[in-house]
Amino acid sequence: MGFLDYSPAPESTGIVSLADEYGLFINGEFRPGRGGVFDSISPATEEVLTRFSEASEEDVDYAIGQARAAYDKVWSKMPGRERSKYLFRIARIVQERSRELAIAETMDNGKPIKETRDVDIPLVAAWFFYYAGWADKLEEATGSHQPHAWGVVGQVIPWNFPLMMLAWKVAPALAAGNTVVLKPAETTSVTAMLFAEICQQAGVPAGVVNIVTGAGATGRALVSHAGIDKVAFTGSTPVGREIAKTLAGRPTALTLELGGKGANIVFDDAAMDEAVEGIISGIFFNQGHVCCAGSRLLVQENVHDELLARLTSRIQTLRLGDPLDKNTDIGAINSRAQLDTISTLTQSGVDEGASIWQSDCALPERGFWFPPTVFTDVSTSHRIAQDEIFGPVLSVLTFRTPDEAVAKANNTPYGLSAGVWTEKASRMLAVVDRLRAGVVWSNTFNKFDPTSPFGGYQESGYGREGGLPGLLSYLRPHSVPAGGKQ
């Protein structure tokens, strides 16, 4: 064993007992779908974890009908104080089952246990806790005596933070008084099923939360259904565009959290070691499967060489491998398809003339893996500087002046996140003013909190999640212009 090697410290999976097969969760109970069955595998081992039902159009229609009935008969009539207590119950059960949920999430998604344990699941509980307290304060939130929910909300979430994205969507929707039909990503539906059990344990009335599993066709059936009053989607920009187009001319409200190509701007006076840690969490957190990842590093030219030397030396110490090992920093890529996407885009960087550096860590033989990768000599026109890679691949560009940094940072159609590293607060604030991004982290990166609004400008989507704006997007606006695409 070398200096930086650790003995294996794997989490036991004994606490997780998955059913051999899960049905759809509709009207408070599991029932088989009518569209076939598909396997859910562990991306780290390629072992089959369980099987899911694929929801057909008829299943989606049925789920929406049950959600409508629950909205009309139960949930919309219930006082906010009672809804609030259901959400608090859910938050508590999530806390009680947090170890099990963290392990299940890691098995299913491939992300390191230290992230599910310390980030994902605590945030899930926090999200329900925060919105639980809004459910009985809607009059204060809206300034209206008659706050109205939309009704039935259709929600589609991605595979990068499976349970966390569920919490971001479901908690504010229920607090505002909506009922929901949610479709998790087909590669990461395990914790959604555990969440369905939690709803049963919390005694959430039947039909208030419905979960339909399946792939793109199920998602399309859900978001385009005439019985849906509002759609909330998190995922890729191309799919977001398709949904926006589908809903054009309809009264259905829509919020979208889409892709990004976040700029992480490092000035020469930045605290260098902190910046290195921030750059790493910006791009290697969750294997870079983060829409707000700091995937473009903009370094002031005079500190480029020094920063790169420190950065690559630090990246070399990141441990890649078994995500269930508590020492693991980098887990598995979520699917073979995503691994192919990352490989293709990385190859384009090489082909277009950027210099590639990869950590020389050993990759496990089974499963989907990609080593931490850094491109230098990148110009703004390279695909790796424009396209979202959604993997552990960092593109490094340089700048000389704050003006140039801002211009390069804003030079994408996206506008989700950015980072600024400098010890000079006045410069930080001036740069932040000019960045076209919905979230800016200064001297930190990839921090999330239920009280803090999150969402993008331009082609990163519309609407915010978290905070009061996240609640208001689940309520019908009063005295507002027509249309809901905001």
Partner: protein, 287 residues
Amino acid sequence: MTRLDVKKTYKLYIGGAFPRSESGYTLQVTTTKGEHLANVAQASRKDARDAVSAARGAQSGWAGATSYNRGQVLYRIAEMLEGRREEFIDGIRHCEGVNQRQAAQQVDQAIDSWVWYAGWADKYAQLVGSANPVAGPYFNLSVPEPTGVVAAFAPAEQKNASLLGLVRTIAPIIVSGNTVVIWAHPSQPIPAMTFAEVLHTSDAPGGVVNILTGLRDSAAPWLATHADVGAMDLMGATELDWASLEAEASATLKRVLTPVKSVPEESLARITAFTEVKTVWHTKAMG
């Protein structure tokens, strides 16, 4: 012999100037009884493109002005509106066919609405923004910011809207720092062009408000797909195939407000419809 009056030739208002349409086409505007009132320019796609360029060029400077300053500029526009009160009343009477009292009432409402929105410039962020109590040692603040360039279609299909509808569309868009390309309603464009003269003699920088006239159906899809347009207000686009425009807007994920057949209500929500929330995190430490 009676004196022959001097008829006005109406042109477009783009980037603080009054160019003719490059197309060379004009559109006849008549009274409600069908009598010739004036010819206005038929704005082309090229004119719309120039207007978007002007709006884009003016946007960062306008957004970068202090909110106190933007508020003052808007209030100055109200002063100029008041000064031309009689001219607006005349114009509205002719193009809408309403009586003196109704026209005067609309002008007064328009001026008062403009003043109401002017006052929001340095206040809306205080109501819409927030300090977020995150669970950690961070300063965390959310502030609203303008979306960018907004393309708008002024409502005027009903009576009492040719000035009021225009004003209540433009003011909430620009007060936060957006710039606007607005297409006057083809049937009642004259108060809109008189309003352009008001803007021109106010302190609004050129390009903040750009006003186009003429039929809207051929150039509207082009505005909907323009990547430099961040949002569309289709409030007054009732005669257009607005569902198609909304579908076109999805290519660049524009925020879209869909039509309603009425003059827009005054509301804070109309301001926030064209703003983005930016959240800023900063570390806190004693060391």
